[in-house]
Symmetry: C2
Subunit: 457 residues, 2 copies
Amino acid sequence: MDAALSYADDHFDTFVGELEDLLRIPSVSTDSAYAEHVQQAADWLADRFAAAGMEHAEVIETDSHPLVYAEHHVSDDAPTVLVYGHYDVQPPDPLDEWDSDPFEPTRKNGTLYARGACDDKGQMFMHVKAAEAYLQGEGELPVNLKFLIEGEEETGSMAVTDFVPDNKERLDADVALVSDTAMFAPDTPSITYGLRGLAYAEITLRGPNRDLHSGNFGGAVHNPANALSALIAGLHDENHRVTIPGFYEDVRDLTPEERETYADLPFNEESWRDALDIDAVRTEGDYTTLEGLTARPTLDVNGLWGGYTGEGAKTVLPSKAHAKLSMRLVPHQEVDNVYDKLEAHLQAEVPDTMELSMTRIHGGDPVVVDPTVPPMQAAQTAIHEVLGTEPVFVRNGGTIPLVADFKNKLGLDTVLMGFGLDSDAIHSPNEHFALDRFQKGIRSIIRFHQHYAAMDA
Amino acid sequence: MDAALSYADDHFDTFVGELEDLLRIPSVSTDSAYAEHVQQAADWLADRFAAAGMEHAEVIETDSHPLVYAEHHVSDDAPTVLVYGHYDVQPPDPLDEWDSDPFEPTRKNGTLYARGACDDKGQMFMHVKAAEAYLQGEGELPVNLKFLIEGEEETGSMAVTDFVPDNKERLDADVALVSDTAMFAPDTPSITYGLRGLAYAEITLRGPNRDLHSGNFGGAVHNPANALSALIAGLHDENHRVTIPGFYEDVRDLTPEERETYADLPFNEESWRDALDIDAVRTEGDYTTLEGLTARPTLDVNGLWGGYTGEGAKTVLPSKAHAKLSMRLVPHQEVDNVYDKLEAHLQAEVPDTMELSMTRIHGGDPVVVDPTVPPMQAAQTAIHEVLGTEPVFVRNGGTIPLVADFKNKLGLDTVLMGFGLDSDAIHSPNEHFALDRFQKGIRSIIRFHQHYAAMDA
């Protein structure tokens, strides 16, 4: 391991230069105008894997953007780590809010500014360089290593979602490792041990068979927009709990120890509220803000529409009203089960004056990983050694459907070891990544492999 | 009067031919591409007034479409009738659903098909021809007659709304007379003695200062779309009554006699529901459908929007959510008073997590006319004589703000004597007006003037 760490330190300037080369490729996955560059980034990445010394590296073409797959087998006795990441980036808009060209990486005070610097080119590339440090500096890896790097994480991960269940043998591993999250705070490194799931639905309430004049029909024809409001309002009770029967029955309650851990996290709620310009929060029951944001299920309206939404007045009593509703799920809720409960509840509550239809748009199961399993402990030790601070285990309110797929389809726990910061402006102008964190990430990954191999042995 | 009636019958074919000329002018007020034709219709109409023998007729230019004003003074002792109507029409779209050219009047089985045949060129022109029948057939009118015909009733009556209070002396009269409504049913002529008012508002709920990711913020940041739904839902109670404090305090209750009259009207609720494809109605408390539609105040959502309303999913927790809300008012509710109550109630109910703003878009006061006053009785007698059936007095759920202005600004009751039918397809393809009703309308108006003059004397 020491030789790998020395190699990484000795070659750090080269690593940064290579990352800059990758950042110069505008691999924006959502815009077909950039398709050629997405392909270019995949090819570039496969070359880097080969150059790092990985015994196999290939670009796998798909119906959408290509996947990059690489592997290096050391021994049947060594554990296998599957690294997942993505080489595509968000669009750079709005361009005029950037202080430098988003696709011409710019160093300032030890920080690298470019689209993708953190999300996820910078963080993903740490894993490539950690592998190189072992293969070139040490001569061998302590673990078997597989890489699955996709090019459309920012647009829905279509290809990789199909690829995973179709390639169970190829992706056979002992743990998945991902760096695509942030540390809890600049001086509080963290390992994410939970992600919420998602069940996203669209509902339509239909009343009369056409838009009506509210003067001629209001007062007897029940208005679908009013009825939709009542239906949505009825989904929460006065304690801000979701009223869908059985919604909470599969929710694993937070343990007293978990709640203590939450309470100990360095979270300044007032400045968090100030940044959002809100005077108060709404959490379920007596849960704290952090618990509500990450460990409790939710039901939010993501979109709402019906009737006349232009300027001025139109006295329409609309025929239909619509809402997009999504629920964030926590273990052990299951997407399909929650969809069923929502639909049954809504159908039971629809007034006799109208009809309701519901479409299940997309979902992902929630995930929690036991922080005491060997790879989580290996990550904790590695980060502690490199950053000098014991990382905290935290849960994240968002959803990475692929992490649930790793668990459900491949039986793998995922270690979410992120070195970003919430202030890194991912998805925003002036995205950046401190080179110090890039370097510490590489060192942490090198140490992780070693510790994990030792623990597993 | 007999000479006027004979003249009208003798010249009926000419009258229809003139109406067809007017219907050929595509005076669509909402589309500036037709502006020239709107002007052309105004000029044409002023010429017809002059040809009818009215002593004064003029086109009054305004900031928007012109008004046509005409008057004929008989005697200071005679009562003065102010006729109001409009010469503009709705757009003809969708054109491909017309069986004939909307601006080439087509006669079929005694019915005239064209945009504006009923609303309101046909009905308005009955009044012009009734005046001509007196002036040319009888040699004189039994009443002093003033005409105020506007060219933008279909787009908000801007110019005439300013003109009325600015021209009180010129418009001085004893009663207003309008034919722009429908009969209750083909064999049930009616006089409309009540119109609901309107208070139309737009509200915006603002939560966080920007759209947020529902995974990262859902569960603690209160969602404005959910909160708006709750706010709207709270505006009605379980008896479908509006919960705004004091909302009903100025509402004049229906008398037992009025409710009996409603019950006696020939209304087939089942076929009415079938036409709308609804299984049930929602009325306030125990009011009947017809009462709910015309004699009780309402609160309807006319528009609702917030968050992501495109295809698929976007996990946004929106910064803002909006609604257009309108209330139909009944005597003696007042627009400004009701706006005040709505705003006070909403502000009291806004959660501490967000801010609410409300804009008053536009309104009109409700109107009822005592059916026993002389002009109403004159209209009842006239229609009875011509159609052979005693007309019923009914209330209409819609709003004609100008009728309230006539009452509030000029002190005038309005007789709403309409000869359309709900099946005349006004505002729709294949609008039509039966020539039989056109003729009976002219005869009824001729008789109205005579009876009203006699009653007033």
